[in-house]
């Protein structure tokens, strides 16, 4: 049984009411979950003895600009046991631009989520310390959104006096 079937089977068994979708593209497995289930699914993926996705490699988001669900939050997790990688994708709409934090599952999620908040403005609920990661705290825009110009907005970042 390959990883795709194992995960599909285990999730179906443990979360009967949750819609999950597994896609394989270029030998990479992607799991699509609904927003409200993200924390418990992640917790399960980490703690299940057969899966053990203990290493969270990366959390980021994609801005689709014009789609209905504007953002997709992507989690890349790695299993030290089976040396497999899994991408977990969650759609987030702009009208309710928030998602539950997984910092309680993996400690490393803390900074990744702060970075995603800084760059896309997606709020992570129950995050222990949600501040901007790179940009100054006073900065009011989210640079990686598609409506933000590459050269920035003139005057939004002050320079010292000459």
């Amino acid at each position: 049984m390959d990883l795709k079937e194992i995960i599909a089977h285990l999730l179906k068994e443990n979360f009967p009411g949750v819609n999950v979708e597994l896609i394989e593209y270029k030998n990479e497995l992607t799991l699509r979950v609904e927003k409200q289930h993200i924390v418990k699914v992640c917790k399960f993926l980490k703690e299940n003895a057969d899966l053990q996705f203990t290493l969270c490699e990366d959390i980021t988001a994609i801005d689709w600009a014009k789609r209905k669900n504007r953002f997709t939050v992507v989690y890349h997790i790695f299993s030290l046991k089976s040396k497999n990688r899994l991408a977990v994708k969650v759609d987030v709409d702009e009208s309710d631009c928030s998602i539950d934090s997984v910092a309680s599952v993996w400690k490393t999620a803390n900074w990744h989520e702060r970075e995603t908040y800084d760059m896309y403005g997606i709020k992570f609920s129950n995050h222990p310390d949600l501040r901007r990661m790179y940009m100054p705290e006073e900065f009011e825009y989210y640079p990686l959104r598609k409506d933000f110009p590459v050269m920035g907005i003139p005057g939004s970042l002050p320079l010292p006096k000459k």
Partner: protein
């Protein structure tokens, strides 16, 4: 042998004050290594045995601005960092010089983006713009020599307009 040979006769020689100050200042430039990114590594390489910045009397890299007279801004300056760079520049005693090392500091270089200052001359007076991304250590040494030339041309009267901050005299009891 040079200086000593002259001194054996009378034990003194005459020169202009400007000349002796510029001469001593020129060969003991103390750089403030404002190492920010990639250029900082090449600046470190200029100090290693192969390039050896000590040959030009500038091996004394001081990390406190109060002991330096040459600031080498090495690396991309972002808007967040610009305030720090300016603050450190303000803490350096006069007279002071600035080398903008590399393309990023000179003009923003390859970083046409929202967070990079497009040239540090927007908030700092720059003496030498150094080309390269990053410049080779030899090129940094060349810039140092040019700074030395520039120091050699300064005269005491150039500094007469500069206002010194007022000294507060501490009264005893």
């Amino acid at each position: 042998m040079g200086l000593e040979a002259k001194l054996t006769d009378d034990g003194f020689f005459t020169t202009k004050l400007d000349a002796i100050i510029e001469w001593s200042r020129k060969y003991s430039v103390w750089p403030m290594p404002m190492g920010i990114s990639c250029c900082a590594i090449e600046m470190m390489a200029a100090g290693d045995p192969k390039y050896d910045i000590a040959r030009f009397g500038s091996e004394v890299m001081r990390f406190t601005p109060r002991q330096c007279d040459l600031m080498i801004v090495a690396g991309t300056v972002t808007y967040k960092m610009s305030h720090v760079v300016r603050k450190i520049y303000d803490q350096m005693p006069d007279p002071k010089w600035v080398i903008a090392m590399g393309a990023c500091t000179s003009s923003g270089g390859m970083y046409r983006s929202y967070n990079v200052v497009q040239g540090i001359d927007q908030f700092l007076p720059v003496d030498i713009y150094l080309a390269g991304c990053p410049p080779r250590p030899d090129n940094l040494l060349n810039a140092l020599i040019q700074i030395q030339d520039k120091i050699g041309k300064t005269r005491a009267k150039d500094f007469q307009d500069i206002k010194l901050p007022e000294l507060t005299v501490l009264q005893s009891n």
